[in-house]
């Protein structure tokens, strides 16, 4: 269990400030791209790109964390503001040759500052209070009893092996994703239920350093779902939190199996049980959600290495397993007739974040929007009509980005790249096609 900043001291001490973490493809300078802008290594850190100062890049943040560990810098609101302005997308972790758990260090630093007596930043504090409130248990200030109102099926069933963890965004803000997922699960022949007592997975709490609330909801969810064999997800953030963070923070393996719905679709395609026949005659590009693609891929790699006493020989195996995970959505998209996939330049482990994660959308909306626009520009460069992804939060922020681009176009009377894109959730599309 490595959950406190002190636990991560040795790992943080590996940072030599090489700054490879500021880029995507920092190890692939010869990577071929379509244009000079999208060739070789390019900027990959949303916060660093937006603010420009070293402290907003992971490379600077690791040294801020070191100063904090060594009592060379006191906890302050100013410090927290710098440290919180990061989407925790994990691009830096992909790039790090010294295998620093960069996101864990950032999250632990946030928690350590708050534990030292600094109040969470205003917006973060607010959703912390809401998630901690027994009547709400979500960061959207919505009544808890309405959490599963979107679901028409039987709830709280104990006679099934599978439970669907919907998550707060699916339950209250992107209900169409929850509905499509439920429909899709049904079409896949999975007998499942949703639980009315489900609480926020705690991801926003953990990301923003509000660890006590996180641990509380983590315990509640583990207890709630412990009698199911499998818990399935549509939300990338909830999936990553259950899969990677619950065992890491609790120090215990999960009492159930976790799967993203996309995995179930892929497994059914692989086994031949599912064949998609309805065509989707559009040119699409795919945005990898950081939580369900990059973070899970990295966790798979780390898990293999944690069991190895010879990294020299096992590192390649671990990397291959990570890369295989990155293929998951691509395998699914390949199975859709007539779908023409045009990949963006920054993909998989080197994907560029949508800008929403890590508490950024609530607290630093300008940065979130600027990041979304940067990603939309890249998506537009592929010539795609549709931007596919599979994360309610990415869908929200990228859609907000398009809205902002359209508003800018109206003012400037100039066409902006990305404004014509249609953001579609892959699970929704699959439900429509199957």
């Amino acid at each position: 269990m490595t959950s406190t900043l002190e636990d991560l001291r040795m790992i943080n001490a590996r940072c030599i400030h090489c700054r490879a973490c500021q880029y995507a493809y920092s190890g692939e300078p010869d990577r071929e791209g379509q244009t000079e802008e999208y060739t070789g290594m390019i900027q990959g850190c949303p916060a660093g790109l937006y603010y420009g100062w070293e402290g907003y890049f992971n490379s600077g943040k690791q040294w801020i964390a070191r100063a904090f560990l060594n009592n060379e810098i006191k906890p302050s609101k100013e410090l927290l503001e710098v440290v919180e302005a990061c989407t925790t997308c994990g691009n830096c972790e992909t790039q790090c040759e010294n295998r620093i758990d960069t996101v864990s260090v950032t999250e632990a630093l946030r928690a350590a500052i708050i534990e030292a007596g600094i109040e969470p930043l205003a917006k973060h504090k607010k959703f912390g209070e809401m998630v901690g409130n027994d009547l709400l248990r979500n960061p959207y200030n919505e009544p808890r009893e309405k959490r599963t109102d979107w679901f028409a099926g039987a709830k709280d069933r104990k006679d099934v092996k599978v439970a669907y963890f919907v998550g707060c965004t699916g339950a209250y803000r992107q209900q169409h994703i929850a509905k499509h997922t439920a429909s899709l699960l049904k079409k896949l022949g999975i007998d499942f239920t949703v639980l009315t007592s489900e609480v926020c997975c705690g991801s926003p709490m953990l990301r923003t350093g509000q660890k006590a609330i996180f641990e509380d909801v983590m315990r509640k969810n583990i207890e709630l779902f412990k009698n199911y064999e499998t818990v399935v997800f549509s939300c990338a953030g909830c999936f990553k939190t259950f899969r990677n963070d619950y065992p890491r923070i609790s120090g215990k393996p999960l009492p159930f199996k976790v799967q993203h719905t996309m995995e179930l679709v892929r497994d059914n395609i692989r086994s031949g049980k599912l064949k998609i026949t309805k065509p989707y005659s559009k040119t699409v590009t795919w945005h990898d959600p950081c939580h369900s693609i990059r973070h899970v891929g990295i966790a798979i790699e780390k898990d293999i290495l944690s069991r190895s006493n010879n990294w020299l020989t096992d590192a390649r195996t671990a990397e291959k397993a990570k890369e295989a995970w990155f293929e998951l959505p691509r395998e699914v998209m390949k199975a859709i007739p007539a779908l023409q996939l045009k990949e963006m330049y920054r993909v998989k482990g080197d994907s560029f974040c949508c800008g929403a994660g890590g508490g950024v959308k609530a607290q630093f909306p300008d940065m979130a929007l600027a990041t979304a626009k940067e990603r939309l520009k890249e998506a537009a460069s592929t010539g795609a009509q549709v931007l596919l992804t599979s994360c309610p939060f990415c869908v929200t922020n990228l859609s907000d980005g398009i809205k902002a681009l359209k508003e800018e176009e109206a003012l400037s009377h100039k066409k902006l790249p990305g404004s014509d894109l249609e953001v579609v959730e892959l699970l929704q599309l699959l439900d429509q096609l199957i």
Partner: protein, 521 residues
């Protein structure tokens, strides 16, 4: 001796650079720290600025002179990436990353780079726009290392085996002097002239700025030679039973300079610990037997070869092989060609790359200490270094590269250590001091003098040279505001050793009274 950065100074910095590009934020100041790779010393600067151009740099220096505030310039740093933090007494830290321009003139085979241009960016631009040319970026340094940082530190490039230290590629500099005056060197000194002739109209001052670690002037532009980029490339490696076995055949390959030697653009090697210490010491076989079974010799040398045709490439490989076979007979030793998987070759040919980074995995931190010596003496130096590293409890990881056809060697132990261990920095300093004293006596030279060990020890021996440097320094920087202490100038900033100049302390001398230089526009 120096003043602190006051609110009034910050206001003046904002007036010059704009509010967006000046900060005194404590966390942001901490983010510019670095201890490792190329140096262990660092202190917190008082303010950070990010100037946009030479004019802003100049105006900041004039203001810093008026207020007697030290200034440390840095961009991507050196071959290690970011490695030029402020040292005592702190002051204003000038982050040059916004100045990242690149102009390429293929007719005159030169590029003009600004300090913030990173190797990876330069490589990308050349790849897409000038594929027949290569920028001489550092080899082995991470992509965020800057082209200029490497050049002005006289580091090594991806073609260093042929073209010499990176500083030899410089055709002209634009320097903002500590007083704020802007100077261009070489043929560039003449308004409108291209940077085609390094030595310019007369005595050339470049050498004062190259290797000064930002203490003699701030280089805002450098014209650097670009090199042809043939696309027939490979890497071949030969093993050996000792450091001698990798050094001597290389000399045989390199000494004729023309022909095959000119195609060996990068020649570098080391010992098996170079592979071992890239992994956590708890998760990798520690015994050489494992590596031997993999077919790895205890020592080896890599030759990166660039040629205009496959025929030329094959001819070069054949000739190198013949030289090794002849050496084996002559020295009665074994130098087997090492099997390199195509992926290993591709990895070595990749520029820039991250091969020098993962040595912090061994424990949690590492330090490169780099020395120059005559090529044929490098085996002796490496033997001595390895013995001393083992004595101090460090794994004896050693790297070497040929500079300019084996005229010089750059010898670099990689000191892997646990930076969280109490007292470790003292131990490294002791190791560094002992080896430095010994190596200086043998006539070898540190390439990037550490202000607390190498510079004082070197200058204690080279007193006349140091006196001359101090004189130049005082002419260029009368108030000693630029990165003071970095080259042990002023002496008392870094050491209690007797000042070889025998001069009064800077605090007692006239330099404590600031002058008011005028900026030439």
């Amino acid at each position: 001796m120096y003043n602190k950065v006051t609110d009034d100074v910050v206001k003046k910095l904002v007036a010059i650079c704009g509010e967006k590009y000046v900060t005194t934020s404590e966390p942001l100041r901490h983010s510019y720290m670095a201890r490792g790779i190329m140096g262990l010393e660092a202190v917190l600067p008082e303010a950070i600025i990010r100037p946009a151009n030479a004019d802003e740099v100049s105006r900041v220096l004039v203001m810093a002179n008026e207020h007697l505030i030290p200034v440390t310039p840095a961009a991507g740093g050196l071959s290690g990436g970011f490695a030029l933090p402020a040292i005592e007494p702190g002051g204003i830290y000038m982050d040059m990353t916004r100045m990242n321009g690149l102009e390429v003139d293929v007719e005159n085979r030169v590029m003009v780079v600004e300090p913030g241009l990173k190797s990876g960016d330069a490589w990308r631009i050349f790849k897409t726009k000038y594929p027949e040319w290569a920028p001489p970026i550092p080899d082995g340094a991470p992509p965020a290392a800057t082209v200029l940082g490497d050049a002005i530190e006289r580091g090594f490039s991806l073609v260093t085996g042929v073209y010499g230290p990176q500083a030899d590629m410089i055709m002209g500099l634009e320097v903002v002097l500590p007083t704020g005056d802007v100077l261009r060197t070489g043929s560039w000194a003449v308004p409108g002239a291209k940077p085609f002739y390094r030595w310019g109209p007369g005595p050339n001052p470049d050498g004062l700025f190259l290797g000064s670690q930002g203490s003699m002037g701030i280089i805002t532009k450098a014209a650097i030679k670009i090199v042809p980029h043939p696309h027939f490339k490979t890497v071949v490696a030969y093993g050996g039973e000792s450091f001698e076995d990798i050094v001597k055949p290389t000399w045989e390959v390199s000494k004729h300079e023309l022909g095959i030697a000119d195609r060996c653009v990068m020649v570098q090697g080391g010992n098996w610990q170079l592979v071992l210490t890239r992994w956590p010491k708890t998760n990798v076989p520690l015994d050489y037997e494992f590596y031997k079974k993999m077919g790895m010799s205890e020592y080896w040398m890599n030759y990166e070869i660039w040629a205009w045709s496959q025929e030329e490439l094959d001819f070069t490989l054949k000739k190198i092989d013949e030289i090794y076979k002849a050496y084996e007979v002559k020295a009665n030793t074994k130098c087997p060609q090492q099997y390199l998987h195509p992926k290993q070759i591709a990895s070595r040919l990749k520029k820039p790359n991250k091969i020098a980074i993962p040595y912090a995995l061994w424990e949690a931190g590492f330090l490169f200490i780099t020395w120059y010596c005559p090529w044929l003496e490098s085996a002796n130096m490496m033997e001595q270094y390895c013995a001393k590293m083992e004595e101090y409890g460090f794994p004896p990881t050693m790297w070497v590269a040929s500079i300019d056809h084996g005229r010089q060697a750059i010898v670099m132990p990689i000191v892997c250590f646990d930076s969280t261990k109490p007292g470790i920095y003292d131990k490294i300093r002791e190791f560094n001091l002992e080896t430095t004293k010994s190596f200086l006596k043998q006539g070898w030279l540190n390439y990037r003098p550490d202000p607390f060990v190498h510079a004082p020890e070197t200058f204690s021996l080279a007193k006349d040279y140091y006196k001359m440097l101090v004189k130049f320094r005082k002419v260029l920087d009368p108030n000693l505001i630029l990165h003071p202490g970095r080259l042990a100038i002023p002496w008392e900033a870094v050491t209690k050793l007797p000042n070889p100049c025998g001069e009064p302390k800077a605090s007692e001398s006239k330099v404590s009274k600031p002058t008011k230089p005028q900026v030439k526009k």
